[in-house]
């Protein structure tokens, strides 16, 4: 057993560690370093400018706009996606009849889940292209085409500053719901039926069962869902880059941090400045994850 142990360990680790160190670890470390420079990619010598980039960021209105939009998504994406997903998984798992004090799922719940889940499989970039057409302001758009038939519209989903961000949020919700329906359904399925039977014998209605039994027992799953959706909310880049008017428009009404990073890096070659934005994004993400875990922490119910 001892023989050839270290050569084996090293042999197995060397390639993955080398790839990872080169493209991930080195990149993240360099990002922090670059954020203190004004490097633009041309001059060979890099000039350190301390916290200047961060000071500049603090006075950058577009960047604040981007942060506000990310916070908007951070609040509403988890909220809508979780509430809708909970509602549907409740219907799927408890919408059927009661037999022996046990509530059943509706008929065909498997089929619904398969359909609901599908958007999760599509690339966000593809979804963005589809919905750019769905939202089209003229009759070629799915929604405006339908509205026209009933004599209404047209609605400028993406060109109206007040609507654009909501339209983008709706697409994210559209894609996310199915995944969480499946996740929550799995969670609900693992709750022992005896608990429901006992509560039903106590005369608990469907609503009471949901709020007093299902929800508390699903708490850990909900927490995971919130963190996942929160992290997804920090990355609406593909949607905004592809769908929105003028990439982040109209007039910056939909821009997000990710888009500002890509734009500053690859359109303006502001490497130092873009890295500083990345550092801010990193601290925002970490703060969010830590806060969520802290705020939502409560006695988990062991079964």
């Amino acid at each position: 057993m001892k023989h050839g142990r270290y050569p084996f360990i090293i042999g197995f680790l060397i390639v993955p560690v080398a790839i990872y160190a080169t493209f991930v670890v080195a990149a993240y470390l360099q990002a922090f370093q670059l954020s203190f420079t004004n490097w633009r990619g041309f001059s060979p010598d890099v000039e350190y400018i301390g916290f200047d980039n961060f000071v500049k960021l603090f006075h950058d209105n577009t960047f604040w706009q981007a942060i506000r939009h990310n916070l908007f998504l951070l609040l509403f994406l988890p909220l809508f996606a979780i509430v809708i997903a909970l509602f549907f998984s409740f219907l799927l798992n408890m919408g059927g009849g009661t037999r022996g004090g046990r509530t059943h799922g509706v008929r065909g719940s498997g089929f619904y889940k398969v359909v609901f889940f599908f958007p999760q499989l599509l690339a966000l970039a593809l979804v963005a292209v589809i919905f750019a057409r769905v939202y089209s302001p003229d009759l070629s758009g799915l929604i405006n085409g339908l509205l026209h038939q009933v004599g209404a519209g047209p609605v400028l989903f993406l060109a109206d500053e007040n609507l654009a961000m909501w339209s983008i949020l709706a697409v994210l919700v559209w894609q996310a719901v199915g995944f969480y329906v499946v996740l929550f359904s799995a969670g609900m399925g693992s709750i022992p039926t005896e608990i429901y039977e006992a509560a039903a014998l106590d005369g608990a209605t469907r609503g009471t069962l949901f709020f007093k039994v299902t929800l508390p027992l699903l708490w850990n799953t909900l927490q995971v869902a919130w963190v996942y959706l929160g992290i997804a909310a920090f990355d609406a880049f593909a949607l905004v880059n592809i769908m929105s008017v003028d990439r982040g428009g109209p007039d910056g009404a939909t821009t997000v941090i990710g888009l500002e990073i890509v734009r500053n890096a690859f359109d303006y070659a502001q490497f130092g400045y873009a890295s500083a934005m990345g550092v801010v994004l990193f601290f925002l993400t970490i703060t969010f994850a830590a806060l969520t875990l802290r705020v939502t922490r409560r006695e988990s119910i062991e079964l």
């Binding site: 991930v24 670890v25 958007p119 292209v129 990073i261 079964l303």
Partner: protein, 309 residues
């Protein structure tokens, strides 16, 4: 748990319910259930339609002419089935090339991710050595960093290595950024495998390498399948990394599907060829539907593997 069931004073054993009132109550309950279940189906069907409608609409529009798209109702049937837009999409808009590029890149990058990821995870899970924890946490900490943070340095690193705008570069980057989750998940998985089979194999004189490939990997099959699906879907759908890496001279030749379709979407506006865009979209959605139809159970469990861990 205790307070959930503490209202024991009101428990009525099922048997005591019997009596004249029982039947009518049961009848009403049954009706109530039917109504509720009816509402449930309506609500579920509405969401089902919301999910499916845009996709069906895309397929319909792909057979229409440009004029029809602008003048006819969204779900009107195309006046004639024309595959013209598919021909345009496949050849002139290069969907065929983007598709094959994606297949090529994702095949190699997922294979690489699974090979290197499970090798690293196996050693980290089952061998004690100096630096084990350090390497493990180095991999796992990658989960906490947003990829946007690495974008600029990644661009520079690839440029210095001469890998910018190459498939090799893109594949290596896909592997590197898939390793944190793969290592995290597979390490946990390898830890659950029983020891006695490994010991028996060693007694029989198997080398460490043989033990891994011939004994441990087959035993880890269910975990490997989940994470392979997770990685295929994740890498196939990747958009940000190719946008950052596949740029420069002649990059269009090497674009992956997500990038290509996004670009067709932008240029379709100028060329007023929406039908070709819808055909391109149909061509990219259709394979997903077919694969999903066959493997939906595995795909669902693969994609939710991260959240249930």
């Amino acid at each position: 748990m205790t307070n959930l069931m503490s209202s024991d004073s009101t428990v009525t054993p099922p048997g005591t319910k019997a009596g004249p009132r029982h039947t009518t109550e049961a009848g009403r309950a049954k009706r109530e259930i039917k109504v509720f279940s009816g509402f449930a189906h309506i609500a579920l069907a509405i969401w089902g339609l919301t999910v499916v409608a845009p996709l069906i609409w895309v397929v319909f529009a792909s057979f229409k002419s440009n004029t029809e798209i602008f003048t006819h109702a969204p779900f009107s049937l195309p006046s004639q089935i024309s595959f013209e837009s598919y021909k345009t999409a496949w050849t002139e808009a290069h969907v065929g090339r983007y598709f094959l590029n994606s297949v090529f890149v994702v095949t190699l990058s997922t294979a690489g991710t699974m090979l290197f990821g499970s090798m690293a995870a196996y050693v980290l899970a089952r061998y004690k050595f100096f630096g084990n924890r350090f390497i493990y946490y180095m991999f796992v900490s990658g989960l906490a960093f947003p990829v946007f943070l690495a974008l600029v340095p990644l661009f520079l690193i690839l440029q210095n290595l001469g890998l910018l705008n190459t498939f090799t570069g893109l594949i290596l980057v896909y592997i590197a950024y898939s390793l944190p989750f793969t290592v995290f998940f597979m390490t946990a998985f390898f830890k659950t495998l029983p020891n006695h089979i490994a010991e028996a194999a060693i007694v029989d004189g198997a080398s460490h390498t043989r033990l891994f490939f011939q004994v441990m990997l087959p035993m880890a099959k269910s975990g490997l399948v989940s994470i392979t699906i997770f990685n295929i879907v994740g890498q196939w759908n990747q958009y940000l990394l190719p946008v950052a890496i596949m740029q420069g001279q002649g990059a269009e030749q090497k674009w992956v599907l997500t990038q290509g379709i996004a670009n067709i979407s932008v240029s379709a506006g100028y060329q007023a060829n929406w039908a070709a865009l819808f055909a391109a979209l149909t061509l990219s959605i259709l394979p997903m539907i077919i694969v999903y139809a066959f493997f939906q159970r595995q795909i669902q469990s693969g994609l939710t593997a991260g959240a249930t861990k």
